[in-house]
Symmetry: C2
Subunit: 258 residues, 2 copies
Amino acid sequence: MTESITSRDNERVKRVCKLRDCAAARQQEQLFFAEGLRLCTDLAAMLMPQEVYFTQKLLDAHPELEQLGGRHFLVSDGVAAKLSDTKAPQGVFCVFPRSVKTVQDIRAGGRYVCMEHVQDPANVGALLRSAAAFGFTGAVLCADCADPFSPKASRASMGALAKVDLIVEKDTAAALRAFSENGIPSFAAALRNSVPLETVDTAGLHGAAVIIGNEGNGLTDETTAVADRAVRIPMAPGVESLNAAVAGSVLLWHFRGV
Amino acid sequence: MTESITSRDNERVKRVCKLRDCAAARQQEQLFFAEGLRLCTDLAAMLMPQEVYFTQKLLDAHPELEQLGGRHFLVSDGVAAKLSDTKAPQGVFCVFPRSVKTVQDIRAGGRYVCMEHVQDPANVGALLRSAAAFGFTGAVLCADCADPFSPKASRASMGALAKVDLIVEKDTAAALRAFSENGIPSFAAALRNSVPLETVDTAGLHGAAVIIGNEGNGLTDETTAVADRAVRIPMAPGVESLNAAVAGSVLLWHFRGV
């Protein structure tokens, strides 16, 4: 049974826009917003949507949308334009339950990417995508990382936020303690006082935590000091840094098989 | 001698905006636009700026801007807002000469990243940045890649576009021929009919060309067929792809020392 919404002032539409725009609303309702055919169907293969909104035009082109779970709403083009976070909306939007774990869920032998102050949602999303691609167990988001459930981050993650354990822990030190207590060696990405990545032998490692810092400033000294080892990606003279998602992903690639 | 510009309708200001917004203007004038303190000073360490525009406020905070080469213009906040491609302009803008090479400049033993239909300027910029970081000789932009001199690409490259040879060649086949004629083995990034990256032994290689395709569709079949080998980054089941800049950079990392 598909309901119809034609008013941009509909209360349900306003609520979905709030989930799209506001991290606090996402946290309070334990829901998040996703947009686009590929992202919505990828996520719906792993998470049961609570609500699905689509235009008649998109439904005609993709009748399989009827098979998605949750409550369905047919929306006018005007409502679709209001719901959309993009300039050219495809015409499908979902509300999914968000699931976040805690450091108590970190388990021995796991591979984790741990981010501290990674503030660009595109970087958070790309790192989640790389973590999923390289078979990592989970991602731990520390300090003031961008919300992985924002539209920009979920789009960049391409559904990976449902493929790895998402753990939120404001206190980076608590995350590092959890790795240590589970016998997981931690590797801090740091340009100074660090060893070149290719010299780190991964044979014999059982699990690993790769710690990535802020785009501009890197990891805090406290975090680098507490990690088991500090590693760097060697760079040509005169080049000071890589894109944060690129640098983190090269590290994840190195530790993929441990 | 610093000239002053206070009118947003100044002809010079209009011309700079055109260089900012229009690839054809950049090509015709053989110039490009850059914005921001870090990017402008990084580029000015490698390229002589033709023109430098700054606000009094930024000059007061950074008197070293006076040391940059080229003609200098003091601009009002209104002019700075017009020149800026960002929401919060820092207040410095430069016009630099753009330098593009051809496939005739490809040389034996070099390491090249070759892009075909890479259309997101952020990906082009990030790949240039990785290429510079990993000591690559140059980047070859084939087919309809995003213009590396656009503001988005140059920002993402963090000045790397002046650190590697930039070669533009519409015809991917011509680029592959140039690699072949110079004895440079070419490696196409392809998910199918390819070998896992970690099985490619780089010992004994003298130079390499890494060929990266479109974000959504990958390399064309023609290009993959002509390359010497096709390689893939193995991914966990259920994950179909990585961010294009991430995937390309992991490949560049693998071939960094050849």
